[in-house]
Amino acid sequence: MAIRVNLITGRSIQQGVSMEAGKARPAYTDACGIIELDPADFKKLGAFRNTNVRVTSKYGSVIVKAVEATQGPHPGVAYIPMGPWANMVINPNTYSTGMPTFKGTPVEVEIAKNEPVFSSLELVRKGCRGELA
């Protein structure tokens, strides 16, 4: 079953450290290939912590690992740290300001236990070549 949440993105210290350590390394995927969900939303979704989920918006879709909110509670709001995973689903419209709408994208989250979370380079490469589901 799928739940609807409001997605925001942004910096986390783990994102910053692993980005400087190298975006090709697994630590970057661990830091940013995640979605932080409120415990209440986990309950609605009916998923265990650390399950892979598919996040889908009007603009795209991506597989990330669902983890419990580290800076909550924030029921109804989900958080993917800034990076290629978040950018698959955020609203790219700038509404004549030049700034894509990185925060406040309505998304659907559903369990996708058996699908893999790609590394940043893999994700971008596959996306550009049209190899993503």
Binding site: A24, Y79, P84, N87, G127
Partner: protein, 437 residues
């Protein structure tokens, strides 16, 4: 034997900490330890020593593999790509020094490029707002020495600017702020209970995207007028209380971040925040400051400000500088397919642009000048690794409060590696040759 270099500038975020100590080997070739830096800054310094670092340019082959090329070949490809393009996009410019930015702008003029920096996905909307209604701001030194009401709106310095609160805004004891954090009131507005919000005196857990309403409500509250019972998820009593707290201070400062610049409303949110600051000046001294991300994004705005008159999204394709956010900004240009070559330096649009834009870069002739291997280097045709500015080469950078600070070289770059400025200078010379000027 080792030696310690003191007063090193950290080239990570806009806080531009200037008190780092770095231990290097006696011959100055290896960087061994970093003191005083935050986790991100320390990682950046240490990572420059990674054994698997790319030290020579590479070109993507037909079969998708990389082939090592010389710097000369990379310069030739870059110069030719830019000179042949009708309207190239030259993006990034935030993780480099002002000297390199100046050379890059000269290339941009010769080839008729669109010059854009990372403000376009960061504080570009703040710059639009400043052009709309101005900005009453100050330096971080004033914040440290005077500010006793600190408001963080839509920003999370505990994660994004880790030493901001300890160096300037919350904890230090300044000239008129001798009690340190106990003499300051800290207010945080954020839809999440962030680690910054946890240490605040007041946290307003705003409904995401309702910043404009809450900012306007504050202006109403300053005047003591009637408010609805709840605004943006915050009960009116709380809003009156925060308004009173701000008014009662001797010096109030508002720091704002991506929470307001990237949510719907965008530049209008900042308009409202600046108007709040202006109103607050009726009662006490107040200032407002954007929490700039890259260590020298402010500098690229400064350089282009004095060269072209505009801080980002400068279109030079008609032979003179034009500026029209929404038209001359990177993501709009890429999504509409209006550029025919992409040059990236000191930024990672592959990771931080919406994917629809990244896909467009993949389809174009493209060069990424970047010390790391990143999603941008993954989608570009040529990757030119360079020395780290602030670690392996010095140069000027501007802090988030527009104070210029000279960064320092602490260690040698791997042998034979170019700096941003050297690479750009060579490209400029070659572009001039091709153009016959």
């Amino acid at each position: 034997m080792t030696k310690t270099v003191t007063d090193v500038i950290c080239p990570f975020c806009g806080t531009l900490c200037d008190d780092l100590e770095v231990v290097v080997s006696k011959d100055g070739k290896n960087l061994l330890e970093v003191y005083n830096a935050c986790a991100i800054g320390a990682e950046k310094f240490l990572q420059s020593q990674a054994k698997d670092r790319h030290t020579r340019p590479r070109m993507r082959q037909e079969d998708g593999s990389w082939k090592e090329i010389s710097y000369d070949e990379a310069i030739e490809y870059t110069a030719k790509m830019l000179a042949d393009a009708k309207k190239p996009l030259m993006y990034g410019w935030s993780s480099t020094n002002c000297e390199a930015q100046a050379v890059g702008s000269e290339i941009g003029e010769y080839v008729g490029a669109v010059m854009d920096n990372t403000a376009t996905v960061c504080h570009g909307t703040s710059l639009i707002a400043v052009q709309d209604i101005g900005i009453p701001s100050c330096t971080l030194g004033e914040v440290k020495n005077r500010a006793d009401r600190i408001l963080f709106w839509g920003c999370n310095p505990a994660h994004a600017h880790p030493r901001h609160m300890s160096r300037y805004s919350i904890f230090p004891r300044g000239f008129f702020t001798g009690k340190g954090h106990t003499g300051r009131k800290m207010i945080v507005v954020d839809p999440r209970v962030t680690d910054t919000a946890r240490i605040a005196d007041v946290h307003l857990q705003i409904e995401q995207g309702r910043d404009y309403e809450l900012l306007d409500a504050l202006r109403v509250a300053f005047k003591g007028e009637q408010l609805p019972d709840v605004v943006a998820g915050i009960p009116k009593e709380k809003i009156y209380e925060v308004a009173e707290t701000l008014k009662s201070g001797r010096f109030a400062i508002i720091f704002f971040g991506m929470g307001v610049t990237q949510s719907l409303g965008k530049n209008h949110n900042i308009d409202a925040a600046i108007a709040v600051t202006r109103d607050l000046n009726e009662y006490t001294k107040a200032a407002i400051m954007p929490m700039r991300g890259h260590y020298n994004v402010t500098g690229s705005g400064q350089v282009w400000g004095w060269q072209f008159g505009f801080p980002f999204a400068v279109d030079l394709s008609r032979g003179f500088a034009r500026y029209n956010p929404g038209e001359t900004t990177s993501n709009d240009l890429l999504r509409r397919g209006e550029v025919d070559a992409v040059f990236v330096l000191g930024s990672d649009p592959g990771a931080h642009f919406p994917f629809s834009s990244v896909k467009k870069i993949y389809g174009l002739p493209s060069v990424a000048v970047e010390p790391h291997e990143t999603p941008t280097t993954e989608v570009c045709k040529v990757h030119v690794p360079v020395a780290f500015v602030g670690i392996e080469v010095g140069g000027c950078a501007y802090r988030m409060d527009n104070v210029p600070i000279e960064t320092r070289k602490v260690v040698d770059a791997p042998e034979g590696m170019m700096t941003d400025e050297e690479f750009l200078t060579h490209v400029l010379a070659r572009v001039k040759e091709i153009k016959g000027v």
